[in-house]
Amino acid sequence: MNRLTRRLTATVALPTLLVLLWWWASARSTSFYLPPLRRILATFPEVWTGERITTDVLPSLARLGIGYLLAAVLGIGAGVMIGQYRLVRGITEPALEFFRAIPPPVLVPVLMLFFGIGDQMKVIVIAAGAVWPILLNTVEGVRAVDPVMVDTARSYHIGRWSRLRRLTLPAAGPQIFAGLRQAVSIAIILMVISEMFAATEGLGFAIIQFQRTFAIPEMWSGTILLGLLGFSLAMLFRLAEHRVLFWYHGMRAAARDQ
């Protein structure tokens, strides 16, 4: 019990202190751009509940979800293909290196040419930016599968599908998840940017609109909301990873204890 309370204190102490410090330091702030935290928190519920949830927040999250899923499916699918065949890898390597090196936000104006500024463009921007870390990590993971295991599976005449499901994907799993984790933060960035650059609704649009109309407390509340969103998605991801890769974390813990 004592240990638990001490751990809890360690977790909450500094964040609480920082928030209090912000509260105290900004309480008598007369600066237009740095309003008191009290005012920001007071505007928060009034800005982000009610109508804005259905017009701005949910559409943004839906685009984020669809784009990310699309990137995951494409990235893992193509990554398994490319990782398994050396010739495909050799030929696609320069293209992959190049597309990975392009900063993803640059895709927004390019894809606007093709798809206008609707939902389709934003989903494709998110997918097109988030796909690279997933794809490249899958290629590396599949490449690194123990060749003895591959040969063993082959000599036992284990079919293509069960080999993929029971050997390749689990063996490459930790690496694939590393890519999926990088892709989460890229996807959030692209969700916000695509809405800031060209949109009529969405989280990023709302926040940039507050800034342009000098609605400063509202703008700060949007920044806090984005922070909370990034944090919650990171937590959600960690939960999912621990569920899927429980065997891997168990193995690592066992290896450490030895």
């Binding site: 360690a10 050799g90 030929i91 990975r100 090196a101 640059v106 040419l113 060749p147 922070g227 998605l233």
Partner: protein, 270 residues
């Protein structure tokens, strides 16, 4: 023996070594870039054929504005990366070597790290406008965490025997950091720097694209709003090439800095 082994050697056997595969890949990519719009598969208004993009690029390269934009992007990238790396290494070693700070800051770091730095764009605009400081705020925030996390991992990796030996020889705290902790953490620091250098470029271009700070991103936004599609693609290609150059530089630095380290040395030794 198995078909895997056979397939793996097939490329080399028919005289198709890896470099030739790469060359084929590049040729194929360039060929598609030219052919797809030419055949009308994708309208040339959206994807101009390669020769027009190359012509647009040649035109841009002749203008001083191109070099100025390139310089502005790289300047923001370099200053931001240096500030973020210096701060992250100092803070990381301080936190990593002090158990109390380590437990006290853990939750705060885990909370601040995933906050997307683009959330700071409105604030940056209000405080600094299109000034360089706007760009630096975004770059430093995003790259700082990449390096910090790796430094913390690296310090944690410290060999207890080495630490105890240093202690029994009465190393000063600075001596411990300089001769035991720093060499242990260096491979991690280098990984962090490599990741941060890519992130810093992304944020540099983003701030130019959205805020309008001078640089390659701003030129992309201008070409887009002016309907100069070929120029738009030319600048996108340039950002890709800058990205490749930065990746190559980061890997080269990593190998240089870790030339003494077993992980790099082992690759050279037979």
């Amino acid at each position: 023996m198995t078909s895997v082994a056979r397939r793996a050697t097939v490329g080399a056997r028919i005289g198709f070594p890896p470099w030739a595969q790469n060359v084929t890949g590049v040729a194929l990519l360039l060929g598609l870039f030219e052919a797809v719009p030419q055949t009308g598969l994708v309208p040339a208004a959206y994807l101009p054929p390669l020769h027009r993009v190359v012509a647009a690029l040649a035109e841009e390269v002749a203008r001083p504005l191109f070099w100025f934009s390139l310089y502005e992007t790289l300047r923001g990238w370099a200053i931001g990366l240096v500030i973020a790396a210096t701060a992250a290494i100092a803070v990381g070693i301080l936190i990593g070597t002090t158990p109390f700070l380590r437990t006290a800051t853990h939750s705060t770091i885990e909370f601040l790290r995933p906050i997307p730095s683009v959330a700071l764009i409105p604030l940056a605009v209000l405080l600094f406008g299109t000034d360089l400081r706007s760009k630096l705020l975004l770059i430093v925030y995003a790259s700082f965490w990449q390096v910090l996390i790796q430094v913390l991992y690296g310090v944690q990796d410290l060999d207890p025997v080495a630490r105890d030996t240093a202690r029994s020889y009465r190393f000063s705290r600075w001596g411990l950091v300089r001769h035991v902790i720093w060499p242990t953490a260096l491979p991690y620091v280098m990984t962090g720097l490599r990741l941060a250098s890519a992130v810093a470029l992304v944020l540099a271009v983003t701030s130019e694209l959205i805020i309008g700070a001078p640089g390659l991103g701003q030129q992309i936004a201008l070409a887009q709003s002016g309907g100069a599609t070929a120029t738009l693609y030319a600048y996108v290609v340039v950002t890709g090439l800058v990205g490749i150059a930065i990746n190559t530089l980061a890997r080269w630095t990593e190998r240089r800095a870790l030339a003494w380290h077993p992980s790099v040395r082992g690759e050279v030794a037979p």
